[in-house]
């Protein structure tokens, strides 16, 4: 009788532990999804901003059509890649294109003095920082999630219920230039 009651207690304890760990894994995965959603929302804002920026720049810098076309192409590729595994690489490409535009507009003081351009540039700078913040938050959540998936004893529950490692959101080029159209 005593043996039976002990085994019941142990089973209940294991079930409770399983539920607790499973819920932690679910919470960690949802936190990652939420942070990923935040990155995508900010990337979308950046994609929406780029056409306005291109329009304002093309009004002042007529000789930069090639650079502007490259920015537009990079934007459309980045828009198509949102949410996919190739998103970091496409976003890196857009960042590179915007950085080359940033260098070129140095030669157009009227453009830099334009109020519309200043407003767009400030918004872009803010968005860049918000994307960076969202990426850092996502990576922090991924680290917590991956720790749960890889560490003992939570890995037992993770393997049984099909949780697998998540990839960090890393920019393709570690030395990606900082965009700051306002100086």
């Amino acid at each position: 009788m005593e043996g039976i009651s002990w085994s019941v207690v142990a089973s209940v304890a294991m079930l409770v532990a399983f539920i607790v760990v499973f819920n932690r894994l679910i919470a960690a995965r949802n936190a990652c999804a939420n942070a990923r959603g935040s990155i995508d929302a900010n990337l979308k804002k950046r994609h929406d901003l780029v056409p306005n920026l291109v329009k304002v720049v093309s009004a002042y810098a007529k000789h930069e059509q090639e650079t502007l076309a490259r920015v537009a192409q990079a934007r459309s590729r980045a828009m198509q890649a949102v949410g996919s595994a190739s998103s970091p690489a496409s976003e890196g490409e857009l960042t590179q294109a915007l950085a080359s535009l940033d260098v070129r507009i140095e030669a157009y003081p009227e453009l830099k003095a334009s109020e519309e351009f200043a407003r767009l540039a400030r918004t872009l700078t803010e968005l860049e920082e918000q994307i960076s913040a969202a990426r850092r938050a996502f990576n922090a959540h991924v680290m917590i999630y991956n720790n749960l998936v890889q560490q003992f004893p939570t890995l037992l529950v993770a393997r049984l219920t099909g949780f697998s490692n998540k990839a960090f959101f890393t920019t393709a080029d570690k030395s990606a230039p900082q965009i700051s159209l306002i100086r």
Binding site: A31, S38, T123, E129, Q130, A133, A134, A140
Partner: protein
């Protein structure tokens, strides 16, 4: 902001002359305050001596026989009544002298000192502030409201005693700032061999510094020294940030895990670590688009000494340096950089 850094050598000529005139009149006041202090101390000692030395004289009074043949004791009162009057006189006599001594010390000794300090702050410090930091306004008798301190939730307890003074406010570069000195105390019950006793503990002394933050944000983020506690808030969660130096010094609590990383960019993390070296155990709260800092300090700033001449250039210089050090927080945290949508 280096060009705003001030020194005594670049006071405008007109301001310098006005300060010299003020200093001359305040020097007279300082000397009078010193004399009043001295007289009050002597008078206080005399009162204490009279009060205490009277007690043995009273004990010396023996029972004597009066002309009417009645046995009297204690200042001529009948023997029967002496027992009731003696304790009143024995306690009352020294008490009257003690109270009188301390009252006159407070009224004339400390009163003169307070008046000198207040006049000095209002006239000289106000003049220095106007000359060197024209965008800042100085109010010596005004401080930060206790609700700001208590509402910061940067400590796990609320103050039982709170005082604040020497408020500076204005615009430094592009940033609206306000700061003041504050002292917060709480009463704690302590168990000793004699039972419970209440002790007053000063848990914060320093500057309350509020600055408009250069980025838009909506949530709340608090930085608490590592290993210490702030008030509990159910809507906030711990955030683990990337910098090991920062994590060694601060615990971060936030209502928004993305926003905290937007506010505390990697360069801002390093800036807070640097600031913490200057102000150990500093606490910070980002809320309502502004940054509130509690910067602990071991000494009382902006207090003139009665022992230094009113026109002391060293004293002027130390005020300027103190004020400059407070305002340099804006530059250290790069709050004047306005490249985001908040202008």
């Amino acid at each position: 902001m280096a060009e705003q850094t001030a020194s005594i050598n670049n006071i405008p000529q007109s301001e310098s002359t006005a300060l010299a005139d003020l200093a001359a009149s305040l020097e007279q006041q300082r000397l009078r305050a010193c004399m009043s202090m001295l007289k009050s101390v002597v008078l206080l000692l005399a009162c204490l001596w009279i009060g205490v030395s009277g007690i043995p004289m009273m004990f010396d009074i023996k029972a004597t026989s009066s002309s009417s043949g009645e046995i009297t004791a204690f200042l001529g009162t009948p023997m029967a009544e002496a027992g009731g009057i003696a304790p009143v006189v024995l306690i009352g006599w020294p008490l009257v002298w003690l109270i009188g001594g301390f009252w006159q010390f407070r009224r004339w000794g400390l009163g003169a000192r307070w008046k000198y300090i207040n006049d000095y702050k209002r006239k000289v410090l106000g003049g220095i502030c106007r000359a060197h930091f024209p965008t800042m306004a100085y109010q010596p008798g005004v401080g930060m409201d206790w609700r700001i301190f208590e509402g910061s939730t940067l400590f796990a307890f609320t103050p039982d005693e709170y005082s604040s003074e020497d408020r500076f406010s204005g615009k430094w570069g592009s940033t609206d700032v306000a700061f003041a000195e504050a002292v917060a105390q709480r009463q704690r019950k302590r168990f000793t061999l004699k039972g419970f006793e209440t002790v007053t503990e000063t848990y914060f002394r320093g500057l309350i510094f509020i600055a408009d933050f250069h980025k838009h944000f909506q949530g709340t983020t608090r930085l608490i020294p590592q290993g210490e506690k702030g008030a509990k808030n159910r809507s906030e969660r711990r955030a683990q940030l990337e910098s090991p130096h920062f994590e060694a010094v601060f615990e971060t609590w936030t209502s928004n895990q993305v926003e905290v990383r937007y506010l505390l960019s990697t360069s801002m993390l390093e800036r807070f670590v640097e600031l913490e070296r200057r102000f150990p155990k500093l606490r910070a709260r980002f809320h309502d688009e502004s940054l509130l800092l509690l910067l602990p300090s071991s000494y009382d700033r902006f207090e003139p000494s009665l022992l230094r001449r009113a026109g002391s250039q060293n004293q002027y210089q130390s005020f300027i340096e103190d004020l400059d050090a407070c305002l340099s927080v804006v530059d250290e945290l790069n709050l004047n950089t306005r490249i985001w949508s908040k202008v």
